[in-house]
């Protein structure tokens, strides 16, 4: 049996580990076009700020890989020849597979304005991108950041930490408006301003201006001009679908897979950012661009490829991130609608967050410790915690289990209700009933 895995991200590595846990003798080949192999992509943000050395981004040692006993090929898969059960690597060498996993991830949506190809226009997908940014980020120079969501903020904070002056352009009237509420956006924006970022609302990029092939400024839709030495963008991501164009595998916005991570070809699986996964609970196929779902999907794909039938059960969407220095957990459904600064789905995002059922918002706390709960008739459907994270785990469990919160619902809804205490107390009694 030969398993071939395209992609050395977390989905690919998790699949190798899962296959090996079942099949100790089958041949495993992993192929990736990233010169650095497997590293923590979210960790790139902390590499930019200088909190981490790039060498620390690699979670695995050579010994780990040796124990997993697989072959690693550096190369770009350029075609999948389904009828031959084969791949073309770099347009020439052929590789035959029995079971194939597409764990090829997603990439930044390209910037679609004149001047987008100038030197000094940067994005953050890979370690090479981060290194490129650091090479160009000069103390005292000016950067403009466009886009929304987590990656745009990470770029902003990274460039700031490297001593650049940063202008952050927002198309709408506030930051991450389809996930955060007005107050939360304000918290983030105020903190950014305190750190020295200049925010420009209602500001849409029209053109990047260059001199001698390098960025020298930007022009906005309303003809305002800003001088700058770098333009960093994060306007959304796209699953990498080019590779399957000629294969007839079913796709929508991602590669469609069933709950066993199987595509419409039973010998080809997909997992991670590239996969649009059928969720038996809702009957919908959803895209996630989150580390943990990619990890779990990779595991499930690997187990199924090795013959151990396993279903992927999507857990309540959940992300932890740091927004302007505040640890922030987003659980379940918290936002709605469309974000002007994003095309498609934001990084570190889940579409479920915007499928808002009838829900009422209860809120408490101040800047640094903030909690927002979304409550439906009997359940908690979502929560945002900024700052103090003590209640994050209880909330995650209660939201996932659809705990009946009727006993405290009215109390939660009262003005200035002590939300944290109510939730903490309820969690203790709820947990006790489970233990019975």
């Amino acid at each position: 049996m030969r398993y071939v895995i395209i992609g050395a991200g977390v989905a690919g590595i998790s699949a190798v580990e899962a296959i090996r846990s079942v099949d100790t003798v089958g041949e495993i080949i992993m192929i990736s076009d990233d010169p650095h192999g497997y590293y923590s992509r979210p960790g790139l943000a902390y590499f930019l700020t200088g909190e981490l050395h790039d060498k620390a981004l690699f979670p695995r040692t050579k010994e780990h890989y040796k124990r997993l006993n697989f072959n690693y090929l550096r190369g770009r898969v350029t075609r999948i020849l389904r009828s031959d059960h084969a791949l073309l690597i770099d347009g020439k060498s052929r590789l035959v597979y029995d079971k194939l996993l597409l764990a090829i991830g997603a990439r930044a949506t390209p910037l679609d304005v004149p001047g987008a190809k100038l030197e000094g226009v940067v994005k953050l997908d890979h370690l090479e991108d981060a290194k490129n940014i650091l090479k160009q980020a000069k103390r005292g120079k000016t950067a403009v950041v466009v886009g929304g969501g987590i990656t745009a903020l990470e770029l902003t904070e990274g460039l700031l930490a490297r001593g650049m002056k940063v202008h952050y352009l927002l198309r709408g009237d506030r930051y991450w408006s389809n996930v955060l509420d007005k107050h939360e956006s304000e918290v983030v924006e105020n903190r950014l301003e305190e750190e020295g970022v200049t925010l420009h609302h209602h500001s849409e990029l029209k053109e990047v201006i260059g001199r001698h092939g390098r960025v020298s400024g930007v022009v906005l839709q309303d003809e305002r001009a800003l001088k700058c030495d770098m333009l960093a963008y994060a306007v959304g991501i796209r699953p990498c679908l080019e590779l399957i164009q000629e294969t007839n595998l079913a796709k929508d916005r991602g590669i469609l897979v069933n709950e066993h991570m199987q595509t419409t070809d039973p010998n080809i699986y997909a997992a991670g950012d590239v996969a649009q996964v059928f969720d038996p609970l809702t009957g919908k196929s959803v895209l996630d661009s989150l580390w943990n779902p990619a990890h779990e999907q990779g595991q499930v794909a690997g187990l199924n490829m090795a013959g151990r039938k396993t279903a992927y059960l999507k857990s309540a969407p959940f992300n932890v991130t740091r927004l302007a220095g505040l640890t922030t957990t987003i659980i379940g459904v918290v936002g709605h609608g469309k974000d002007d600064d994003m095309i498609g789905i934001a990084r570190g995002d889940s579409e479920t967050w915007r499928q808002l059922p009838e829900a009422i918002v209860a809120q408490s706390g101040f800047d640094v410790n903030h909690m927002r709960l979304l409550i439906s008739e009997k359940n908690l459907v979502g929560a945002i915690l900024m700052g103090d994270q003590t209640l994050s785990r209880p909330l995650q469990k209660m939201i996932a289990a659809k705990a009946d919160i009727s006993p405290i619902r009215d109390l939660l809804m009262q003005p200035n209700a002590p939300l944290a205490d109510l939730i903490a107390q309820f969690w203790m009694s709820w947990r006790a009933t489970l233990a019975l």
Binding site: G43, E51, A56, P59, W291, T327, T390, R393, D421, A424
Partner: protein
């Protein structure tokens, strides 16, 4: 947030040093490596989190560097005396 005391049973430095260990919530982790990078004695904390294991390394000083520096609240202290706390 004025939280109930039940959530504050693990904060005393002395208690942690004598009876505590570092535990993790792996679903919050993205393997960035800040924990391992900052461990003064070079424990690969991140690898423990990947395996959903507590940092049961015999040389762990419970100094708290990893707990404090994790940008995502993955790590926390818990008492090792299982009888002191109800198991979840």
């Amino acid at each position: 947030m004025a939280l109930l005391n039940i959530f504050k049973n693990d904060t005393s430095k002395r208690v942690v040093l004598t009876t505590g260990r570092v535990v993790s919530e792996s679903s919050r982790c993205v393997q960035c490596g800040i924990c391992s990078y900052n461990c003064p004695i070079g424990i690969d904390v991140r690898a423990h989190v990947w395996r959903s294991e507590p940092v049961n390394h015999s040389e762990c000083l419970t100094c708290g560097e990893c707990v404090a520096r994790c940008p995502r609240g993955v790590l926390s202290f818990a008492q090792t005396d299982l009888f002191a706390r109800r198991k979840e």
